[in-house]
């Protein structure tokens, strides 16, 4: 979902920054509150941040002969709600923009909105919806992480499709970018789903600690 530096026209880059800003600020508050809730909570926040940090660096080959990466956002969104991840996504994206010239400062609004807003909200609601329809927790977690990853790229397609609509118009152009991303992304999103279930399994083995931070509902 990394739209490269300078690769959104100024007006579009600004638009996505403005849209992302409130989530970023609310996310920062959420993170600050979370960090003040004691040492165990801090550690768990560290875990979800580290998960995103780690697996979003991995470019994984996909069946169609191209590579893409997981986002790792679903895990934190289920544990801490969607807002905190809006800020954690910004940290990861900022580092990648500055050190790796992957993504960019001008496009961070757009990239942050897809990875840090659409991603976690997709995970959050997909999780709730899956549980409501009677699916087991593990299946719900899988669906949440999958949707989070995949919908992030749907958002990126919309962002590119609107900014570079050409003669074919916004809808066709969006579908064109979606076709570039989706086939690559599908197996990566499935992989992220399994990986997130694995982390949850490991977390559940530490029931006492999870109870300490008041997250019994995920057990």
């Amino acid at each position: 979902m990394h739209i490269m530096e300078g690769f959104l026209p100024k007006a579009y880059a600004l638009f996505w920054w403005v849209l992302y800003m409130p989530f970023l600020i609310m996310g920062m508050k959420k993170l600050k509150n979370g960090l003040e809730k004691g040492h165990d909570n801090k550690l768990l926040i560290g875990l979800v941040a580290a998960f995103t940090f780690c697996i979003s660096a991995l470019k994984i080959p996909s069946v169609v002969g191209s590579c893409s990466h997981p986002t790792g956002i679903g895990l934190g969104a289920i544990l801490f709600g969607p807002l905190m991840m809006a800020f954690i996504a910004a940290i990861v994206l900022l580092l990648q923009a500055l050190i790796l010239s992957h993504g960019g400062i001008t496009t961070l609004g757009a990239n942050g909105f897809s990875m840090g807003v659409v991603g976690p909200f997709a995970a959050f609601f997909a999780y709730k919806l899956a549980l409501k329809s009677g699916l087991s927790k593990k299946v719900a977690i899988f669906i949440a992480a999958f949707s989070s990853n995949f919908l992030t790229y749907v958002m990126t397609s919309i962002q590119l499709g609107t900014a570079f609509s050409g003669q074919e118009g916004v809808v066709l152009s969006t579908l064109k970018y979606l076709s570039i991303f989706s086939l690559t992304q599908l197996p990566i999103a499935i992989l992220e789903g399994f990986l997130t279930v694995l982390i949850f399994n490991l977390l559940r083995e530490n029931k006492e600690q999870i109870r300490l931070v008041g997250m019994e509902e995920i057990l």
Binding site: A50, G65, S68, L100, S101, I105, I180, L191, L198, E208
Partner: protein, 94 residues
Amino acid sequence: MKTKQNLILIGIVILLAITPLIINPNSEYKGADGAAQDQIILEYPDYEPWFTPFFEPASGEIESFFFSMQAAIGAGFIAYFFGRMKGRQDNAKH
């Protein structure tokens, strides 16, 4: 039982990452982000990025060095977290 399920999950993840290389060995495996960028350049050859990064990794090697550092730091903390949890659980038992 739980360990078995986790091992299966790890197996699936590895399989998903490796299978493409086996069934589709002659592809270029470029990044999808880059493919989208190529599409923009193809359709808008006149588009000039209006901002360029302050710093760019000097080579592919340097870039992959930074990416592996990112993954390693993340993985390091994940291992620290679960190791710590395990230690606590063991202490509580004694």
